[in-house]
């Protein structure tokens, strides 16, 4: 039982590992700094406001895709894009832009396109809102995405090892469960091991009329 499940999961894991496309992930970092002094506890809301103001515009992501030369669907683009807003330990509001692609060059190009467009839009918002005096932030690309030299994510060995471990756990658990619920005793040895008591006799199945 255990070996069958381990083998099945091993095949699934190996197939998945071999068929899974090896993707590259590129990362660009954008720093967003307030022009006026903002208390540390207000830094996260400030970053959220700036990010929201930029990305809530419907044409922003369309422009990013166009700038990056994206040929796929918007859904696929959204699935590969990972944008995180965070305030670093030294209190710097940061936007981390990651893009995953089977093409390393496309991954870097898209992450950089997002970062560049983000800074442009912040500048644009500053210009527009200066009249109102509401938003005052400087955004700059602190780190451009470089060409990733190796695929991201776990390698085939990881999936194979995972399949073995999962197979042993699931197979072991199922074997134990089935053994406990089993209504089929193999032989006297099976009964002795299960019950830890001596088996004095084994009587085969027979029609009751034959008995006496």
């Amino acid at each position: 039982m255990i070996s069958i499940i381990v083998l099945s999961l091993l095949i699934v894991g190996l197939t998945f590992a071999l068929l899974r496309e090896r993707a590259y992930t590129a990362e660009a970092i954008v720093l967003v700094e307030p022009q006026q002094e903002v208390p540390a506890e207000d830094m996260e809301p400030f970053l959220r406001d700036v990010t929201g103001a930029v990305t809530s515009s419907e044409d922003f992501i369309v422009d990013v895709r166009r700038k990056a030369g994206w040929k796929g669907t918007p859904e696929e683009f959204a699935r590969r894009l990972d944008v995180q807003s965070l305030v670093t330990s030294d209190g710097t509001p940061t936007i981390r832009v990651r893009f995953e692609s089977v093409d390393a060059e496309e991954a870097a190009r898209t992450a950089n396109a997002y970062a560049a467009l983000f800074t442009e839009r912040v500048d644009l918002l500053n210009d527009r809102q200066l009249a109102g005096g509401a938003l005052a932030a400087d955004a700059r690309v602190a780190s451009k995405a470089s060409l990733p030299d190796r695929p991201s994510g776990a390698g085939p060995l990881f999936y194979v090892a995972g399949a073995i471990v999962a197979g042993m756990l699931i197979g072991g658990g199922m074997a134990l469960l089935l053994e406990n619920r089993a209504r089929s005793w193999r032989d006297a040895r099976d009964a002795e091991l299960t019950l830890r008591a001596p088996v004095l006799g084994v009587i085969p199945e027979y029609p009751s009329a034959e008995e006496v």
Binding site: R181, A191, L195, A197, I203
Partner: protein, 200 residues
């Protein structure tokens, strides 16, 4: 037992194993985790095998909640253990001689409160009484849970033989019952695996 019966040698081996136990067994309680494991069949088969070895054996159906032995014998349940408990006469008078050396005693008519009858001192005395005339007394008992609950069945006789059925008794249940019997201080003589495949 029919000499041509295919199970004859299996019961003979069971009887041999029982007789070769370190402590001599004069009276034993045969029970099972659940009904349907074949306790009564094992009692009769074992009794016949012991009788064939020259032992004088009596099988007593003391499963008053679910009498079965008389059905296996094809006899009415008009007289038996309960008749003996009421009358004060010896148990030998209420049985059926199946083969030379083997007496089978059905429950007899079962009235209300059968547990009280089995728990009575009279029941233990009756079994003790027949031990004087028989080499081995086999008590066809209710399921193990009832045996554990019964001070008479669990502690007044030499030991308990547990019958499990190869395809009807779950391992989990059998293990729990075995543990319960041992926890209750029962002298578990051993296990009989009934209804096994021929290859076993």
């Amino acid at each position: 037992m029919d000499p041509a019966s295919p199970v004859r040698r299996h019961y003979a081996k069971l009887a041999q194993n029982l007789l070769s136990l370190e402590d001599r067994v004069r009276s034993m309680v045969v029970t099972s985790p659940e009904t349907g494991a074949g306790c009564s069949s094992v009692c009769i088969g074992l009794g016949a095998a012991l009788a064939e070895m020259g032992k004088r054996v009596v099988v007593v159906d003391c499963n008053l909640g679910r009498p079965n032995l008389h059905r296996m014998l094809g006899e009415p349940n008009f007289i038996g253990l309960t008749s003996c408990l009421q009358s004060g006469r010896a148990l030998e008078n209420y049985g059926h001689d199946l083969v030379p050396g083997l007496l089978a005693v059905p429950t007899g008519p079962v009235s209300s409160d059968p547990v009280a009858r089995i728990e009575s001192q009279r029941f233990v005395e009756v079994v003790r009484g027949i031990e004087a005339h028989r080499d081995i007394v086999i008590l066809d008992a209710p399921v193990a849970e009832k045996v554990i609950e019964s001070p008479a069945l669990s502690s007044q006789f030499d030991g308990v033989l547990l019958v499990i059925h190869a395809s009807r008794t779950s391992k989990n249940t059998a293990r729990e019952v075995t543990d319960d019997l041992l926890d209750a201080g029962v002298n578990l003589l051993g296990v009989v695996l009934n209804g096994a495949g021929e290859s076993v």
